[in-house]
Symmetry: C2
Subunit: 340 residues, 2 copies
DNA sequence: GCGCTTTCAGAAAGCGCTTTCTGATAAGGT
DNA sequence: ACCTTATCAGAAAGCGCTTTCTGAAAGCGC
């Protein structure tokens, strides 16, 4: 079913049919009605590709690239993006890179080919220098051609609009809270240090401890996943050194793994060791003990990032940054340190 | 950057440039190389819309419609779809309906407009009769026009390729297992009964109990969400009747809510009451007690459903059904019933 | 009633690509 | 040497839409 068929059925020109359907220009009422009826009758659906080709400015799709939709963090942020997109009749193309840099580049390229109105990058980037350059090489011409890009907590090399959680301040506040509980020896389970998210949270946590003159006992690195957290926690426990009274995993997802590892070692949380995370993904409230964490408004961050991308570009070329505060939420996974 | 520009730069016709880049027809090696080089130099990215318009058969996008990406069930299935799609260079457009029927129809329509190669519907439909008809009215012409549709555990009215978890058999097996543990009084927390998923699991559970001559004590209905499970569990406990020794929530997501409700009532799981779910979403392993459930291979179901949609349509018009077995996984949330 | 602006429908020119179709050139057969 | 058969590049015709541009009809003041 093409527009031509509709026009013929309604006894008007394709031009008029187009105008009647889109309401771009005034069309006599009776004609408009006739076209509407004809379209209905023929079950006409405009070809979005033809529309996009003819009128390149009116694009209804936005692309979202994240590492893995099945990670609750990305799922929550994506959900916010989708809610906002739905309200504006936008279609979201969601891609998972499965943490492969090459796939990320490929997706940006596909999104460029689709002439997506905006590209949203969710989550930290990779540390690879070549990748950075390649991504920039894709994004730069896209932006120059009128494309919009916005990111959530992205790598430092990207000069684009950003939704930036206050990782450092949040981690510092968490550290202070934990010190307030009485803890003096701490370990941190981190992800890849090249990610700003990781290094900011680590730095913040250190600063928070430093306020009370406390040093960080141990830092163990692991993958940015549940299993990474599990492995890191095991390594922490295996090393033989005196156990810290409190463990901070830089993300909740890692904390979930860490909790499993601690349990397997027969340690009670929080009686033997306290555990805290960061993000407040939905599930951690359900754990027992429920996880102490720094809550980020994930869904609304998703809404923010798409709003940022869609907003009229500011006169100056400067990248805008929306800062999002994290709130320390103390739950049952932290307590006073064991005596003795 | 258009193909014409590339062709000019390479000193060939647009036709040759197109052929060189796509490899559709033999092109002399030196020309092909020249075109490649020119494309590279100009940072050429083909306009996917123009391609789609000119060659409607070659479409690289598939649409996935689910209720909510932030629900772990959908996230897991979607993740499988995406993994498979990535391997075939397909772009996935993922839409969340937020459980609004109208939005689902709208998305199908948008996907049709995009001339998506396939539309995948994940999760149960709505009970609304008008909605059913409307959905069918969208899907039927789409399929007639060569579009592919496949669904995961969908409503009965749809005659399309389906990945069908064996809800009934799985629930029955679970019931038998629970009876084997010694339980004799059961309650079920269900979702909207119009969903086949719900009614199949309920029926299967009943059958499993009936094998031992046991009847189902109570059925409480709630929304298909964590909060729905929570509310249903509270209602179950509030009714004053003697408490069942075992509760089955028809989905893990609901079971998570139920667990919270049981806890709040001061009940210990499994000492005071046993709890089981269905699906085996990733997080339920992490709960304590870890949830007994019927495990479905969610990610691989996602891979199955896209494979089903993309496979050459069978000669006969009959819808294909891939049955997926569930496996009872006994974890710590179930135990022997309390004595006395 | 005449020239003016205003309103609105239709003709036609693309948007950027793919793909026949056409024709030139080279290769092969006798 | 001549004709037939492959190869392969280019011209041109769309794909289905939007949007100028053009022109007819109607509305207005004098």
């Amino acid at each position: 079913m093409t527009l031509d068929a509709v026009a013929r059925e309604a006894g008007v020109s394709p031009a008029t049919a187009s105008r009647a359907l889109n309401g771009t220009t005034r069309v006599r009422d009776d004609l408009r009605e006739r076209v509407r009826a004809a379209a209905e009758r023929l079950d006409y659906i405009p070809n979005a590709h033809a529309q996009a080709l003819a009128n390149s400015t009116n694009n209804r799709t936005v692309g979202v690239i994240c590492h893995d939709v099945s990670d609750p963090y990305f799922a929550a942020v994506s959900s916010g993006v989708m809610r906002a997109a739905a309200e504006q009749d936008l279609l979201v193309m969601l891609a998972s890179t499965f943490r492969e840099p090459a796939r990320e580049i490929a997706y940006v390229s596909m999104l460029r080919a689709q002439r997506a109105r905006a590209i949203l990058l969710i989550g930290s980037g990779f540390q690879d220098r070549a990748w950075e350059r390649a991504l920039d090489a894709e994004l730069e011409p896209y932006v120059r051609g009128g494309g919009r890009v916005a990111v959530v907590s992205r790598h430092r090399s990207l000069r684009v609009d950003t939704v930036q959680p206050e990782n450092r301040a949040g981690a510092a506040a968490l550290a202070r809270t934990l010190v307030g509980l009485g803890h003096r020896t701490f370990a941190v389970l981190t992800g890849p240090p090249a990610l700003t998210t990781v290094s900011d949270r680590l730095t913040g946590f250190r600063e928070g401890l430093a306020d009370s003159g406390i040093g960080l006992d141990r830092v163990v690195e692991g993958a940015f996943t549940r299993d990474g957290g599990y492995a890191a926690a095991r390594r922490l426990l295996a090393c033989g050194r005196p156990r810290p009274t409190c463990v901070f995993a830089v993300t909740d997802v890692m904390a979930v793994g860490a909790l499993a590892a601690l349990r397997e070692e027969g340690l009670r949380v929080p009686e033997d060791v306290s555990l805290a995370g960061f993000d407040d993904i939905p599930l951690v409230r359900e754990l027992s003990p429920a996880l102490t964490t720094v809550a980020l408004p994930l869904t609304s961050m998703g809404e923010d990032v798409i709003a940022l991308a869609l907003r009229e570009p500011s006169a100056g070329r400067r990248a805008r940054v929306v800062r999002v505060a994290g709130e320390v939420v103390v739950r049952a996974s932290t307590g006073t340190p064991p005596v003795g």
